[in-house]
């Protein structure tokens, strides 16, 4: 009885917290199908908001900017960062620690300060192109996340592999490409995913470092006062949730299979 009561309270608490976390987004999604302009007043079902979403150039532009900046900056940061990690790993301890510490700056720095420092640099040298400014800013704040997700994998793998490849006649470039990179692939992939999602979500750094070219966050900030099309929340929410659920369900299923497997082995014993 006591146990049941405990379970009931635990479930209720977790449920309430989930409601707290999801209610605002879900309510926006529900009302993105509402004819009325004001929230809380249901006047009928419509797809109008969605039609409007795709015929508002500001929004479609911001969507394209967000996605392309995320894609390009995460790939560039992954390439630069992976090479950097390989290089750092091979350096002398003192040099490596110095560079690692500097690399942590964008992670330690408040976003606000990173954004402003980049803004000052761009203004100082008179560089105006808004899109490139966004790209540079995003690559810069993505780099440490890639480096620090690749470095641990390099530490786990053995230097011998690289040397064996050289002994067997690879050039250093070939050895990196054919031996080292496959070995540290999980680190590279998680760095890439992290960089992509961070870039999708960024507001503060983009706001200061950018110049006239808006990503979605900047668009939402700029139009918060007159109201943002509620359909935007569906467009952002549904893909993210689906993607995360697919990725996680797969790993959960694998885990469960592994568990079942080990149980079977136990029973055979």
């Amino acid at each position: 009885m006591v146990n049941r009561l405990k379970k009931f309270f635990a479930g209720t608490y977790l449920g309430l917290m989930l409601v707290f976390l999801y209610a605002p987004i879900l309510i926006l999604i529900v009302f993105s199908f509402n004819q009325s302009k004001t929230l809380g007043n249901w006047t009928g079902f419509t797809f109008n908001w969605y039609a409007q979403l795709f015929s508002t150039p500001e929004i479609t532009d911001a969507l394209i900017v967000t996605l392309s900046v995320a894609a390009i900056s995460s790939v560039v940061a992954t390439v630069l960062g992976t090479l950097a990690a390989i290089g750092l790993h091979a350096m002398k301890r003192r040099d490596r620690l110095l560079l690692e510490n500097i690399s942590q700056l964008p992670m330690v720095n408040p976003d606000l300060v990173t954004g402003i420092s980049l803004m000052l640099l761009f203004l100082f040298v008179g560089f105006r192109d808004g899109y490139t400014r966004l790209l540079i800013a995003h690559i810069t704040f993505n780099l440490p996340y890639v480096i620090f997700s690749v470095l641990p994998k390099l530490r786990q793998s053995s230097d011998m592999l690289y040397e064996a490849a050289l002994d067997l006649g690879c050039t250093p470039m070939q050895a990196i490409q054919k031996v080292v990179i496959p070995d540290i692939m999980p680190g590279i992939v998680s760095g890439l995913i992290m960089a992509f999602t961070l870039s999708l979500d960024d507001f503060v750094i983009s706001f200061f470092a950018g110049n006239g070219v808006d990503n979605l966050s900047m668009y939402i900030y700029a139009s918060a006062r007159r109201g943002v099309n509620p359909a935007l929340s569906t467009i952002i929410f549904v893909p993210v949730v689906t993607l995360l659920l697919i990725v996680n369900l797969k790993s959960i299923r694998e885990e469960r299979n592994a568990e079942l497997q080990s149980r079977k082995v136990d029973m055979k014993r």
Partner: protein
């Protein structure tokens, strides 16, 4: 064995020079886009019309600005405490569930972290405006901050708690501790490292937050981030803005050092108490 070692040493030194070259493009990038912008902030903070001066810092540290900083710290503290009070039970309950259920449920608690924080904050603005009277009050700002930072508290505590060896809890029960004592004397001390990293992940970003207060506070609540924004964007005063940024940076670094120290201390104490 010896011979291969010697050979390894030789080939390593040869390779080290070449392999470390892979970091070269990044080092250039870092110098241009990480170091030089920071140096620019320092430059603007400590110069005025070309001459070196402490004037900017002294002026930025005036009573009005420091009151805004204190206000931000107060908000950040409230946010951190609320996130801890709400988040710890979530992490604890999740960690006591069956592994696969917990894995799935924890995803739902983490997903909001991956969603555009501005859109989520905007959603609250609409919601609070339509259904309550608290929009554009301090309560709304606090709500928005707790909402945005809660997952950052849950995640580190949850990861510490699932790693916690269940036999400690059983041992405590076997030795006669009731559940409350077990929790206070065993589980809580052992999860201290998760609590501290959660507190760090919530407290520091919420001190420097920007935009939440503008969206939900309606400009009535001025936080330190808004102050820096005002100096740079509205007043175009780079020297004053840079000086404020430097003060913020020093504050953040100090609190991080403090947290690191606390973490080291608790990990010692946790071990001490247990044995």
């Amino acid at each position: 064995m010896k011979r291969t070692d010697v050979k390894k040493q030789k080939s390593m030194t040869g390779m080290h020079i070449r392999r470390s070259l892979f970091a070269f493009p990044y080092i250039v990038w870092m110098a241009v886009f990480i170091l030089s912008p920071m140096l620019l902030i320092l430059y603007y903070a400590f110069t005025s019309e070309g001459g070196a001066t402490l004037e900017n810092i002294v002026q930025a540290a005036n009573w009005d600005n420091m009151r805004v900083l204190l206000d931000s710290v107060r908000f950040a503290l409230y946010t951190t405490v609320l996130c801890l009070l709400l988040g710890y039970p979530i992490a604890y309950l999740l960690s006591r569930m069956k592994k696969t259920t917990a894995a799935l449920l924890s995803v739902f608690f983490i997903v909001p972290m991956w969603m555009n924080f501005l859109l989520r904050t905007y959603a609250w603005k609409v919601l609070l405006g339509a259904f309550t009277k608290i929009l554009y009050t301090e309560a709304a700002v606090l709500l928005g901050m707790v909402y945005n930072f809660l997952p950052f508290m849950i995640l580190p505590i949850y990861t510490t708690l699932i790693k916690l060896d269940k036999s400690y809890i059983e041992a405590a029960a076997d030795l006669g501790a009731n559940p409350a004592t077990t929790f206070l004397r065993v589980v809580l001390p052992l999860s201290m490292s998760g609590i501290i990293s959660g507190v760090t992940m919530v407290f520091i970003p919420s001190t420097t937050t920007f935009a939440i207060s503008q969206l939900l506070g309606g400009g009535k609540t001025m936080l330190y981030g808004d102050l820096i924004y005002m100096k740079f964007i509205t007043e175009q005063s780079w020297n004053a803005g840079s000086a404020l940024s430097i003060i913020l940076l020093v504050f953040v670094l100090l609190s991080m050092t403090f947290m690191k120290k606390a973490e080291r201390k608790t990990s010692d104490e946790g071990g001490g108490r247990l044995w």
